[in-house]
Symmetry: C2
Subunit: 228 residues, 2 copies
DNA sequence: AGGGCTTCGTGCAGAATTTCACAAAGTTAA
DNA sequence: TTAACTTTGTGAAATTCTGCACGAAGCCCT
């Protein structure tokens, strides 16, 4: 194999690039033309060497002794993340969250226009949410094909989420943003990102409790150490 | 130091425990009494050895040749995650998302009741959202103290998010769930989890583009390999 | 009781990620 | 031009995470 696939960027770095991009956009908006890895690291809350290594996966776009150009780096990160084009999104599930996503205008300007919303509830089908009308989930396949949708957002109830995922995959979707608190069964050829506030809160809870236990054991002089 | 702090669970494992808990709750609801690491691994989409290792951080609660008891493991995970008590949440920012969080009844039953919502906009202060009234952000400190709030959710505009974080920390909050697309500057004694749909979409975009490039280079016979 | 079967718990090796540390390469100023 | 200074790019070490492989331990059946 002649290494025909592009140099792969480590997953951990891919997850940080959008954060850097966000920060660089802010810098650009405040007329900052250049930045050093130290500055970006401080703004992103990470180590400067990590910033340099992450950016080096894009290519050698820095100038030693000077730093990086904001606009040029924005361009490179966008290119690498696939943000030079738009990716159409369809929402499955016209509940509170689904409708909010459809109405929320914040995604289109960032390259992810929501072009459709579907549901299986006859009462919801036909209703308007923002500029879109809720259509029948049975039209999903046609909708995905006609509007060239690549990303599906699942905002159904937990019990309907798996069949929503099945329908999306059947329709040819290859990226899913899942808001239901369930682990979807999906072929490995499809990407999934889970957004679960319950999980986030529980992780915070763990570290919160950790802090409390530590300060407890510090305040009472006798150590309550547990023998290993 | 006599190792007074409890055995630390690796961060990666901490992030998976809530997912296991979710699955076990489902099993419990369907009257499943026992499970093996293989079964849980399949449901969680991870390796069975990883499941066993993760659960072993809680203690040796399995029975060889049999598996784990659902209810007992639920109890142990809850204990470890600090879910034997409630953690009160205050929402900062009474916009669309903030109000939705305040109204949404899904957190209280899972141990994270939203007990307050604040804003700095005089037009919003005093309005009702669900069972709560929006109060002045200047009351935050008192609110946090009186209601024993430990978690703050930031749902303000991006420009107001940092000062919201400052106010929360000033008020004594030590865990923050941040929905604004910005990296908050925070002391290391405070935990933060970021929920940023833009970031998630951009990560999906990367892998989507990756797939397209790969199938492109496969369909055309001449390799477009880039010399390293 | 004992053999066969199942599944846990975990040592260890390998992979992935992070961080350090420094040569390379550029700028600036005299 | 040269010396002093800054900042990148990247080997290599350190750390964290993953997954295999297998001994240990319990159940079931005869």
């Amino acid at each position: 194999m002649t290494h025909s696939q592009r140099r792969r960027i480590p997953d951990a770095a891919v997850a940080r690039l959008p954060v850097y991009l966000q920060i660089l956009n802010n810098l650009h908006a405040t007329n900052v033309a250049r930045f050093s890895s130290d500055e970006l690291a401080a703004l992103a809350g990470v180590n400067a060497a990590k910033v340099r290594k992450d950016l080096s996966y894009l290519g050698s776009y820095g100038t030693r002794g000077v730093g990086y150009e904001v606009t040029y780096l924005i361009h490179q990160i966008r290119r690498e993340l696939g943000l030079m084009r738009e990716w159409n999104v369809v929402v499955v599930g016209a509940g509170n969250l689904g409708c909010a996503l459809a109405k929320f205008g914040g995604f289109a300007p960032r390259g992810f226009p929501v072009v459709g919303i579907v549901d299986n509830d006859p009462k919801k089908i036909g209703q308007s949410t923002g500029a879109l009308k809720v259509s029948d989930v049975r039209n999903l396949q046609k909708l995905v094909k006609d509007l060239e949708v690549t990303i599906g957002a699942i905002t159904t109830s937990t019990s309907a989420a798996q069949s929503a995922a099945d329908a999306l995959i059947e329709a040819g979707i290859t990226s899913i943003l899942n808001f239901a608190p369930i682990v979807l069964a999906i072929p490995s050829s499809v990407s999934v990102r889970n957004v679960d506030l319950g999980v986030e809160l529980q992780i915070l809870s763990y570290y919160e409790q950790m802090r409390i236990e530590q300060s407890d054991s510090k305040s009472q002089q006798k150590s309550n150490a547990v023998p290993v």
